[in-house]
């Protein structure tokens, strides 16, 4: 245990980040199930409105800040040095520091939830509906939330700095940026996005802290302050951050698809450009998330929110092109990647409708918009993670996962996520707003809410099945060969699991598929 706690090996630190993210995923999932159970019938009374709001806040904070962020860092910490042919991260101790900051931030958010009498404040994950209330709220819980988020922001910033520095300076000779594996490229782009986006939330939290503790008036309209500035800063942070946290999952799937299709990625340069395009364009659509942007800017933000969907769609098309021209073989990583494709596709369609009609029933604040955001960003990040874990399990644990278990769990998860979030599109079209705790008087909403709730239960079963498959694989799985999938990138050129220094020998890198090149050379030599 002590070796784990003091580890500086990137694989160990990465796995610890993944463990932290998994624990908070379970917490967010259980909370989500409680929230969905409250909505299973029009006038259910599982929890009262106040408790619903508190749990909703925790669900969002856990899901974004303590699941998606640690998992982003963990997967990247574990795999990026292996893909670069590097023996370590650029700053190994800084990576360990990120872990402790995540844990500290998570502990503070849990402490906020357990604070006697008040519990976590009711603000939603964006904390925006009532920032004026937050700035004047009494109690320690709100402070714990603010400081906890600050620590998590620091953790993800340090992780992003570390990973960008690693990718730029730790590549093996011959591995130019043009030859960078797509997953590492997605981590580079998302890392830069986080470096630009997260500090804005840090600034907002600092102002909120001054308002709460030193009598400031930054967000106080009665003293000349600007409460709407909180919402603007938050969405300037959140919109690119959500895309950034999705990108590594997309990057992993972009590597998986060609391996299992048995051919190089169709239009690789398009995929590379699409990921970079998302990285740039995601910063321009943040205003589309505002409840009431002024009319002059609504068109600009709406157009930007539509345009960013283009590169994402183009990326999916490269997957389809690869599958069409290849000879796909069935395995758990490709099943999860295909599931990811359906989720991202449905999410992009939902976001497109919201961006085009931001003020209608399907606009900002509707169940439609909420469903699309979950389908694209949360479900996308989660299933992208499952695909990556199934693919890289040999390198992470030296074991293969049970294929039937992984496929069954993935199918249940993807099916459950679709059943949870697609009915929210229907509910939005029917006029249901997000954050509603009951819907008495709207009996027509019952069927979709029932399906959505059952879908949520199925998704949890899927998560449990995948988790059990991974735990079984770690404890009793079949030892994995070094290159079980016939991969193309450098992580498949070392043992499973890799030694502490990662590589004894590395192939000469003269393309973006060095291990595939080596395989070809060996076959040619034998012939």
């Amino acid at each position: 245990m002590s070796t784990w706690l003091t580890a500086t090996d990137h694989k160990t630190i990465g796995k610890l980040h993944l463990l932290v993210g998994a624990l908070f995923l379970v917490a967010a999932g259980v909370i989500g199930a409680i929230l969905r159970t409250q909505l299973i019938s029009p006038a259910a009374s599982v929890i009262n409105a106040n408790k619903f709001g508190q749990l909703l806040t925790l669900h969002g904070l856990f899901g974004v800040f303590l699941f998606a962020m640690p998992v982003w860092a963990g997967l990247a910490f574990a795999m990026v040095p292996l893909q670069l042919g590097a023996p370590r991260l650029a700053f190994p101790r800084l990576a360990a520091q990120s872990l402790w900051l995540f844990l500290g931030g998570g502990a503070l958010l849990i402490a906020a939830a357990l604070t006697p009498n008040s519990g976590v404040p009711v603000y939603g994950w964006a904390l925006d509906p009532a920032v004026a209330q937050l700035r004047g709220a009494d109690g320690r819980a709100a402070d714990l939330v603010v400081v906890g988020l600050f620590l998590v922001c620091l953790a993800i910033l340090l992780a992003a700095l570390n990973l960008v520095a690693t990718i730029i300076t730790m590549r093996v000779p011959g591995l130019t940026l043009r030859r960078l594996p797509i997953f590492s490229w997605s981590v580079l782009v998302s890392g830069l996005m986080l470096v630009l986006a997260v500090p804005v939330l840090v600034a907002a939290l600092a102002m909120l802290f001054v308002d709460r503790h030193y009598g400031g008036h930054v967000f106080d309209a009665t003293a000349g302050g600007s409460p709407e500035s909180w919402e603007r800063l938050f969405w300037f942070f959140a919109t690119p951050t959500m895309w950034a946290l999705l990108l590594p999952g997309l990057g992993a799937a972009t590597e998986i698809v060609p391996v299992f299709a048995g051919r190089p990625l169709f239009q690789r340069q398009v995929a590379v450009g699409a990921i970079a395009g998302i990285g740039v364009l995601a910063f321009f659509g943040w205003g589309s998330e505002l409840v009431q942007p002024d009319t002059a800017h609504r068109a600009f933000f709406g157009a930007a929110a539509v345009i960013v969907l283009g590169p994402a769609a183009a990326l999916l098309l490269t997957w389809l092109g690869t599958l069409k021209e290849g000879r796909p073989r069935l395995a758990s990583p490709i099943v999860a990647s295909l599931g990811l494709l359906t989720l991202v596709g449905a999410g992009l369609a939902g976001r497109l409708v919201t961006a085009v009609a931001p003020t209608g029933k399907v606009g900002v604040g509707s169940e439609w918009a909420q469903g699309a955001r979950h389908e694209l960003f949360f479900a996308g990040a989660l299933v992208g993670l499952v695909a990556a874990l199934a693919y890289w399990a040999p390198k992470l644990w030296g074991r293969r996962l049970s294929e039937p278990g992984a496929i069954l769990g993935t199918v249940a998860l993807v099916g459950g996520l679709h059943l949870t979030f697609l009915p929210m599109y229907v509910l939005g079209a029917q006029g249901m707003k997000t954050h509603a705790t009951t819907y008495a008087g709207h009996s027509s909403w019952r069927a979709a809410n029932l399906v959505s709730t059952l879908g949520g239960y199925l998704a949890i079963i899927g998560v449990l099945l995948v988790t059990l498959t991974i735990v079984h694989g770690i404890l009793a799985g079949e030892p994995a060969p070094d290159d079980p999938w016939e991969g193309a990138t450098l992580e498949w050129a070392t043992t499973s699991p890799p030694p502490p220094h990662n590589f004894d020998t590395i192939p000469v890198v003269r393309s973006d598929r060095p291990v595939a090149d080596l395989r070809l050379a060996t076959v040619a030599g034998e012939a």
Binding site: T169, P199, L233, T505
Partner: protein, 209 residues
């Protein structure tokens, strides 16, 4: 290393050239330049924090009937002195960099000590200004943002001072040479950056507002 024996389906005969594995020990990446790059990224992140503060400052200004409020006077004397001191700090920081490049330890120590002195003077002037301002952070939104922006600059001044102390100690210990001048360059660059931060704060508070 495991090598598969089945050729990938996509590779046509005579396609990609055969690529052997590197023989013997290979040159592993050592992360040279990682610290400088991480430092640069930190500056980018720091600038984004400043950007967030300035965005709210201008948002508040945009909806205020009078900005700063009529009974609030941040004064001109202190910021001008700080600007002048920051200019001197920039000059002496560059002097330190040149000294390190020339392996001139004596000039390096003098210039670093001067730069450190200028940064401490800036911190001193700013805290003096806080006592003489006549308005506190609780007065109104302008006051809160004045303290936040100048406090942000002050925090960066403290970090710069800490880096200058480290650089001074490294030069004094003989650890800095023309081909290993990282500590001096990092401290000097951060000092220049902090001066740019003050320039932005100065323009926002005293010129534009």
């Amino acid at each position: 290393m495991a090598v598969a024996t089945r050729p990938p389906a996509d590779v046509a005969p005579g396609g990609a050239p055969a690529l052997p594995a590197a023989e013997g020990p290979i040159e592993l990446p050592d992360g040279k330049g990682a610290t400088a790059l991480a430092g640069l990224l930190f500056l980018v992140a720091d600038t984004m924090v400043l950007g967030g503060l300035l965005a709210v400052f201008f948002a508040v200004r945009g909806q205020a009937p009078a900005f700063p409020p009529r009974d609030t006077h941040p004064g001109v004397y202190v910021p001008v002195v700080i600007c002048f001191t920051a200019f001197l700090a920039a000059m002496s920081a560059q002097w330190a960099v040149v000294s390190a490049r020339r392996d001139d330890r004596r000039n390096g120590l003098v210039s670093l000590a001067m730069t450190l002195g200028f940064m401490l003077a800036i911190a001193n002037i700013q805290t003096y200004a806080y006592r003489k301002l006549g308005f506190s952070v609780t007065k109104h939104a302008y006051a809160s943002l004045y303290y936040l922006l100048t406090g942000f600059h002050l925090a960066n001044v403290v970090i710069a001072a800490a880096m200058l102390v480290v650089a001074f100690a490294r030069v004094a210990a003989g650890h800095v040479h023309p081909d290993a001048d990282g500590p001096v360059r990092a401290a000097a660059r951060f000092t220049q950056y902090v001066n740019l931060v003050y320039l932005a704060v100065f323009i926002a508070i005293y010129v534009v507002a």
